[in-house]
Symmetry: C2
Subunit: 233 residues, 2 copies
């Protein structure tokens, strides 16, 4: 089995991407980050998802993106709550973390190089997160091009690195449907930007609202909501 590095946050998208990579025959090297996120509970989800998927290895790397501030996910900026779905995606959200995907993909690149892997998977998509600049196809393509110039193997022609973003053009409902068809247990995942210490979703931040809409559109109850006795549409 060829090794692939998979960015695994513990959320719905990255769990689905990991399952897709596995279904394509890759041995998974899951990569998560403790980056000063206020929703650190997602790392517990990442561990559960990695176990459930039977990854070859799960690395949790500590980096301190709080040093540079600038996001509601890492700094003392309130997470927006209760926005109507229409407002989500207008402009760049305060939950955007500066250069986060660039930093994450750079570490994935370092690991891919030492593993001799040619494949990195990331769960970005444009539909729900159109406000995040580093979730767009042009960014992913530019990163891939840069990555192939950055590594020893790329320069020597021994390696052709690909950044896989299979969710790029999918809606949240399509992502959920795909994951369910691959046996993903979404009860293990965590999406909330501001969860309780027990992992209870707040139910009102953008991530909770998009997740709820996704499950509603997919016509399937969210096992996480069921577990916490939250309203299921």
């Amino acid at each position: 089995m060829k090794p692939a590095v998979v960015l695994l946050s513990g959320g719905l998208d990255s769990a689905t991407v990991s399952a897709i990579a596995k279904s394509e025959g890759f041995a998974l090297y899951a990569l998560s980050f403790r980056y000063g996120q206020r929703h650190g509970i997602e790392l517990e989800s990442a561990v559960r998802v990695a176990e459930a998927l039977g990854v070859a290895e799960h690395a949790i790397v500590e980096i301190d993106l709080r040093r540079f501030g600038g996001s509601a996910l890492t700094a003392d900026i309130p997470v927006p709550k209760g926005r109507c779905a229409g407002a989500i995606g207008e402009g760049i959200p305060v939950t955007y973390v500066p250069a986060r995907n660039t930093v994450f993909l750079s570490f994935a690149l370092a690991w891919a190089e030492t593993l001799g892997s040619e494949d990195i998977f990331i769960g970005v998509n444009v539909q729900d997160y159109s406000g995040y600049p580093d979730c767009r196809p042009a960014f992913i393509e530019a990163f891939e091009q840069m990555a192939n110039l950055a590594t020893a193997a790329g320069v020597e022609g021994r390696q052709r690195l690909r950044i896989h973003a299979p969710l790029m053009q999918m809606t949240k409902a399509e992502i959920i449907a795909r994951g369910l068809s691959l046996g993903v247990d979404y009860g293990l995942t965590s999406s909330c930007y501001d969860p309780g210490t027990d992992g209870r979703p707040c139910g009102h931040c953008d991530a909770c609202l998009l997740r709820a809409k996704g499950f509603a559109d997919a016509g399937y109850p969210d096992p996480l909501s069921l577990r916490f006795g939250l309203f299921v549409p």
Copy 2:
């Protein structure tokens, strides 16, 4: 004064680049990394160089690149010693750290974005380090292109990020001559891959040999060698 993020390792090249950025009128935001390097003494040099240059801020970010192994600078691979100068630069050295400059530049990008800076300075050059893939012009250009797609400001057209690599085509001797003309005190810097705990250069690794050759070619004694009573050609 416009802010610029400067990657500052504490070595000769990054000290020179910082002085160049300062001479161009930038306020310096120096960025160093504790990345598991065995030559951690270079961070003490970085602090001294940053002080001497009067930087606006000096951030030292902790990241663990040892997690992924693969380099004599971070793993238990011996640092090569006593190679003739001709052998340096043949192929990719074992001191290459996978994706290191990609990771470093990604953090610089994060900081630049929160500072509202459009300028990142890095001390790479092709002449002496032709074996490092992430020190080539094509890599720097690809990173710049990616960076302008990665950030909120880039997408909104509020920012045009530039990666400055003013040493790219210079020889070590030219770099030293330029730094001296700008008043850089190279006695504060550290280049050795395997120094003593007191900062004493080993005198035999590639970095020491290239530094010695650079000072010899520049026709100037290395103040660091003088301090430690090392042979000065």
